[in-house]
């Protein structure tokens, strides 16, 4: 079994480690690029959203490299993404790739199906090995998030944005190489200390912006024009609402995210699929935490985020926090995003200046 999986942020570091230790041969797909998107667009239904197209492109590239099995996630509820694994499978079969899909459904929603799929992955080396490697993978997930959130804090302050990005990437490499929980912890410490050694401007008071929206476009830099890095380089502290670890924990082992959803209730009292309700709740929470503004990312045609966008003006007005919604599609020109971000930051700066004056 030659197994592959899609990219989403830094998750591939954990997934590849885990699969390898479970005894599988891995085919790394190329990092998503213009070519990936073109392939996806070519074979996907026109009205499917950007994540669907990037994933399909990724799968096609991986199959060309010899993969015969794809690991992906399922889902439930009103968002279409729950069906994506199945639709991808059918499209790939129609294209003549007899690929096998392992679709992990949320364990608490469909426990039997989840275990059945999982058993397939565990088979080569058994459950004991699974338990052992799971601890290490979990540790990796945790430290990746910690390293990344430290990067977000330091990037706007760093004197050389290029240097801090480079040091961060070295840190990822260290974590990738760790082979035990102890090594993972040591790698984190080393990576953090290197990050903290990058010269910064300690007097800088960066704008604080929350990043919310649909999980894939929030986490995958290729899908969002690397908006986190772009903002960080413009001297803005970006706090991302979704991290791999809390998302995995909340969705795999419990119906989590209750606080965020509770915060949304005055505006939206039910799930609308995907991260629609979370998006509302997160804006409320960012306002309460004194953030300057929120950037809301969504794939074009994403129903959950269309719902949340239409509620956003009311939340924004009540809580006094500006929200910029960016719908992402195949357009690859960065100019439109850049213009809107620049204007949004001007708006936030003026707002802060006015607050400080009064």
């Amino acid at each position: 079994m030659k197994i592959t999986f899609p990219y989403m942020g830094t998750s591939h570091l954990v997934i590849s480690f885990f699969l390898k230790e479970l005894g599988h041969e891995i085919v790394y797909p190329p990092v998503p690029s213009q070519k990936t998107l073109s392939l996806g667009v070519k074979y996907a239904p026109e009205f499917a959203c950007l994540p669907f197209k990037i994933l399909l492109g990724t799968y096609l590239e991986a199959l060309e490299l010899g993969a015969d099995t794809i690991l992906t996630s399922g889902g439930c509820g009103p968002c279409r993404a729950g069906y994506y694994g199945e639709i991808h499978r059918r499209i790939l079969h129609d294209l003549g790739y007899p690929v096998k899909m392992i679709i992990l459904e949320p364990p608490l929603v469909s426990p039997r199906d989840f275990l059945h799929q999982l058993a397939e992955l565990v088979r080569p080396k058994g459950w004991l090995n699974f338990a052992k490697q799971f601890r290490i993978a979990w540790a990796k997930l945790k430290v990746l998030d910690e390293l990344e959130s430290t990067l977000h804090k330091l990037r706007p302050l760093a004197l050389s944005k290029q240097e801090i990005t480079k040091v961060y990437e070295e840190g990822l490499e260290l974590i990738d190489q760790a082979r035990s929980v102890k090594e993972v912890k040591a790698a984190l410490e080393e990576a953090l200390s290197r990050l903290h050694n990058v010269p910064i401007d300690p007097y800088c008071q960066p704008l604080k912006v929350g990043l919310i929206g649909e999980i894939y476009v929030v986490l995958e830099p290729f899908a969002n024009h690397d908006v986190e890095k772009l903002l960080g380089e413009m001297g803005v502290y970006v706090h991302r609402s979704i991290f791999l670890m809390n998302w995995t924990r909340d969705n795999a082992f419990g119906y989590g995210e209750k606080d965020v959803r509770a915060a949304a209730v005055p505006y939206l009292n039910q799930l609308v699929g995907g991260h629609g309700q979370n998006s509302i709740g997160e804006v409320v929470r960012y306002a309460e935490q004194g953030f300057d503004g929120v950037i809301h990312l969504a794939p074009f045609t994403c129903i959950p985020e269309i719902v949340s966008k239409s509620i956003m003006p009311a939340v924004s007005r009540d809580k006094g926090i500006p929200v910029l919604t960016l719908f992402l599609d195949e357009q690859t020109g960065q100019a439109g995003i850049q213009t809107r971000l620049e204007a949004f930051l001007d708006l936030l700066r003026q707002k802060r200046m006015k607050q400080e004056a009064s």
């Binding site: 690029s33 213009q34 990936t36 290029q162 500006p322 719908f327 960065q334 204007a343 001007d346």
Partner: protein, 324 residues
């Protein structure tokens, strides 16, 4: 006299203005970009130089805006390079200090900007559809064989505008053709189109925005009295069109340049000689990764001035050397 230059290079038009210390417009120039931003900026600079020749005007600051702002900034030596949303807001609130809503429709962009107490609080720009922008109106005017300058006045003659779907420019066009073939008079069709475009703008760009007076309407399309009337009818508010409605972005850039040079007391302006400098743009596709970024080099008289276009930082060194 101390003066400031603003340059706005957009997809369709390129505008240059010179303002004095009080923000009064001394020179305003409106040119078609025609896909040649470098040439048109040089031509504009030549015309500005000509206009200020005998007036003892000293350019103390330059601002660039519009979709070609980065390129323009390098060519003219701008003190500030600002996005067009901020530039338009600055210009509107300079001319109408208590403005609360700015409607701006240009060649391919349309935006709405909300200000409260002189500060921008919200904005939006068209994303996926260019229906209702200047290019589309140009196209339809040409198709109906009406000079674009007379398009708006013709709409005002209508007493019974036809209903046209404004959701999408392609469908709007097929709707228009259908109404024509049914025998509706041209003024009614033109007026119907103006109504449709305004509806589309308000539903699309203005969605969920609180439009409060005073409302300022600017950008090239503000020349169209038909669109203005349609806005007034739809909003039930008086629409204010500033005297220099077509060059507001450039005015905003000039005002921002004034601000920017006030602190540093000097300008990066390269002088009017830029109109005769030999600027060259070349591009190549980087093969470093599958993104195949198109990298652009800008050079003046054979010397590399700036370079951009890459997703990673690999080719940005020249730019950083200049700014850092």
């Amino acid at each position: 006299m101390q003066a400031y230059l603003g340059v706005d290079v957009g997809s369709v038009s390129t505008n240059l203005v010179v303002i004095n210390e009080d923000g009064k417009v001394l020179v305003d120039i409106y040119l078609r970009t025609a896909g040649q931003p470098i040439k048109v900026v040089q031509e504009g600079m030549r015309q500005v130089a000509e206009a200020v020749k005998d007036k003892k005007i000293e350019i103390c600051g330059v601002g660039a805006t519009g979709s070609a702002r980065t390129l323009t900034g390098v060519i003219v030596g701008a003190d500030t390079v600002k996005n067009e949303i901020t530039a338009h807001a600055v210009a509107a609130s300079h001319l109408v200090p208590d403005v609360q809503t700015v409607l701006e429709i240009g060649g391919q962009d349309s935006k709405i900007i909300l200000l409260r107490d002189g500060v921008v609080v919200d904005f939006a720009m068209n994303t996926v559809c260019a229906a209702g922008t200047g290019s589309f109106l140009d196209h339809q005017a040409a198709r109906l064989n009406i000079p674009i300058e007379e398009f708006g006045a013709l709409a005002l003659q209508s007493t019974n505008p036809v209903r046209i779907a404004g959701r999408c420019s392609v469908f709007a066009e097929s709707d228009m053709i259908h109404k024509q073939q049914m025998g509706h008079p041209t003024p009614d069709i033109v007026a119907g189109l103006c109504d449709a475009l305004v509806r589309n703008y308000l539903n699309n760009v203005g969605k969920g925005k609180e439009i409060l007076p005073p409302v300022v309407f600017q950008g090239g399309v503000a020349a169209n009295v038909g669109i203005r009337a349609a806005f007034e009818k739809e909003l039930g508010l008086e629409i204010y069109i500033p005297e220099y409605f077509a060059v507001m972005g450039a005015i905003g850039a000039a005002l921002l340049a004034k601000e920017a040079t006030k602190e540093k007391q000097k300008t990066n302006f390269r002088g009017f000689a830029v109109s005769t400098t030999d600027y060259q743009a070349s591009s190549f596709e980087c093969k470093g990764c599958p993104n195949h970024c198109e990298i652009v080099n800008i050079s003046a008289d054979g010397q590399l001035l700036a370079r951009w276009g890459g997703r990673c930082g690999k080719w940005d060194t020249v730019q950083q050397m200049k700014t850092g």
